[in-house]
Symmetry: C2
DNA sequence: ACCAAAAGTGGAAGCGTTTCCATTCGATCC
DNA sequence: GGATCGAATGGAAACGCTTCCACTTTTGGT
């Protein structure tokens, strides 16, 4: 494997000059730069990230911690983040905290610490105090996506507002009997998220002076199948059913729609459903929803990281990073909501 | 940040001994081992992977290249692979070739080469000759998941057989008018996969001496929405419709089922659908399918890598790695298939 | 022409490990 | 009881870079 020495030899310059020429930092004459480039190409040289990182303290590698991969939101965040990072020539090291607790511990105690990372992105993760402390101890930039961690640069949507907006939509259509399908904390994700959405829902009903029916406050596991079960039994209740339902995720909304159909209800005539997410399948289901854009969130998280690393292309940190604005969302009106019969 | 020197100092031994004590390699007295352990704990010491990799040539980091993340199969492969790697104390660096060509090139030309990786797993990737050459040049173990790369240790399911099995199921129910919904190569994935499934389909029909109706050979993009469109127009054709459909993926099968329902067909009475994949949602849809287990495949790929690295726990490579057996799949009978009316 | 500043360059000191080698020292063997 | 062996250890040389520093040329201003 060719090393920088070989390149230096072949180019007839010093190792120091090769390093400068290849990294673009420092002064190098056009001639040297040229011959170094040729030598490197001839030798098929690529620099050793390890050696480079060791010497410079920067690794061009950022870590991302997710609670699971195989759900829509997370897969799309990853998709956005990898693209953006590859674009900038960074590597992405993936940590998955799902599964046994000891794996999660291992991630925080060891893997993240090995100073192989320039920064860390956490996605919708509810960190324990020690874990947060661990992360802080690494001393690297930290960006939280979706959760809100104390004193950590955070990118997230306004869950409260989204839910209340969605609820207002149903109210404005004339619904008064509205149910809510939230989620339980299956993946150790930040519990704040489902909670904020529930709060938003209750707030909107409250504003409309409609009492919340506790029977109609449901929890599922954020999966389509789980939602199906819950909604099916909700709608089978002989003692009256709601005319509309707000689901805390689109994937659950799909289950709700399927359940309603299987029971012979006609949608949206007999039953309106609104989701939150902006899942691609929403279009097929005709699902009215509030779209967030997870891939864009992944990209934004990377951009924020780059700011913190002073790599945003512009010169150094332009003051404080944009404070905690909320990530934009979008109301998508389709055919799953209509006035009650 | 505490370094190995600090630990050595505090433990009252040499740096060399600390290294041996911590790695467990070489002879170290119980006493030294003990005091090193204590010193390390007190100092909150974790070793620098970069320095360690540089010195030893091993990085405990493996790379995985996927064509996209946000589809069921890939997300689940990743899920399995990350778990298994974390389990073994390895890091996982993720490369995503979706998006612009130049990103893909960047991945193969630079990122993968930086000798930061002990091994590489490619998932359902159709590599070009130069790309394969690049990978070979790294000189690290390489395992292909899902594709078949010349002379590369490969883990994959028997696509041909799966498709013919699925087709035989439909035949055995008495269907003769059977359509096939395959996929086009949207993500630069190995084209061999859809092709093999189509071959299996045609083979089975051939065995049954049934002519393939070219009108009923469809292509979609492996998405639910894409399949919905195709199948909807297939079933709307006034000049006769098939009574059964084999879909090359479950996600497409869902779209097919929705299309059929939206057209007022009753399933499986009027129309049988069988999928391939084993998607969780299959249960909700009542989809008969042939399940592969992507998470298990991810784990298997990691296990294979570990064998190649001589890390399987057992002593050194036990002969040749298990030749190219096919990864097991499973026929799952549900309610989407029945004899034709 | 003359001098100061800028440009270009090489030497060498790290960066934090691993590992080879040599050394010491009880323990074991006839 | 001296030679021999293995266990335990430390010194020091890599590993392949980056970067500080000092030095030599250019350059540009006057």
């Amino acid at each position: 494997m060719a090393s920088i020495k070989d390149v230096a030899l072949r180019a007839g310059v010093s190792v120091a000059t090769v390093s400068r020429a290849l990294s673009g930092k420092g002064k190098v004459s056009a001639a040297s730069r040229e011959s170094v480039a040729r030598a490197a190409r001839d030798l098929g040289y690529v620099l050793s990230y390890n050696a480079s990182s060791l010497a410079s303290g920067r690794s061009r590698n950022i870590g991302i911690v997710v609670p699971t991969i195989s759900r829509w939101y997370f897969a799309n965040v990853l998709q956005g983040a990898t693209q953006e990072l590859n674009e900038r020539g960074y590597d992405l090291t993936l940590y998955n905290t799902s599964g046994e607790q000891r794996h999660r511990d291992a991630v925080f105690q060891d893997l993240l610490m090995r100073q192989r990372l320039d920064a860390v992105i956490t996605v919708t993760l509810k960190l324990t105090a020690p874990e947060l402390h661990q992360l802080r101890a690494v001393g690297k930039p930290l960006v939280a996506l979706g959760g809100l961690l104390p004193e950590v640069s955070t990118i997230r949507v306004d869950d409260f507002n989204i839910a209340s907006l969605a609820t207002e939509h149903l109210l404005s259509l004339g619904h008064t009997k509205i149910a809510f399908l939230g989620g339980t904390d299956v993946f150790n994700v930040d519990f704040n998220l489902p909670a904020a959405r529930l709060d938003g829902f209750e707030y909107a009903l409250d504003q409309a002076e409609i009492a919340v029916n506790p029977q109609w406050l449901l929890d599922a596991d954020f999966t389509t199948a789980g939602a199906y079960q819950k909604v099916r039994s909700l709608l089978s209740n002989p003692r009256g059913r709601p005319t509309a339902l707000l689901c805390a995720s689109d994937e659950m909304a799909f289950g709700a729609i399927m359940a309603a159909r299987d029971l012979g209800l006609s949608l949206p005539g007999d039953f309106s459903v609104i989701g939150i997410d902006g899942h691609e399948l929403g279009e097929l289901y005709g699902l009215t929803t509030i779209a967030q854009h997870p891939a864009a969130q992944g990209e934004a998280a990377v951009a924020r990281i780059m700011e913190l690393l002073g790599e945003d292309g512009a010169d150094e940190p332009a003051g404080t990073p944009p404070a905690d604005e909320f990530f934009p969302t979008e109301f998508v009106l389709r055919t799953s909501t209509a006035p009650p019969a």
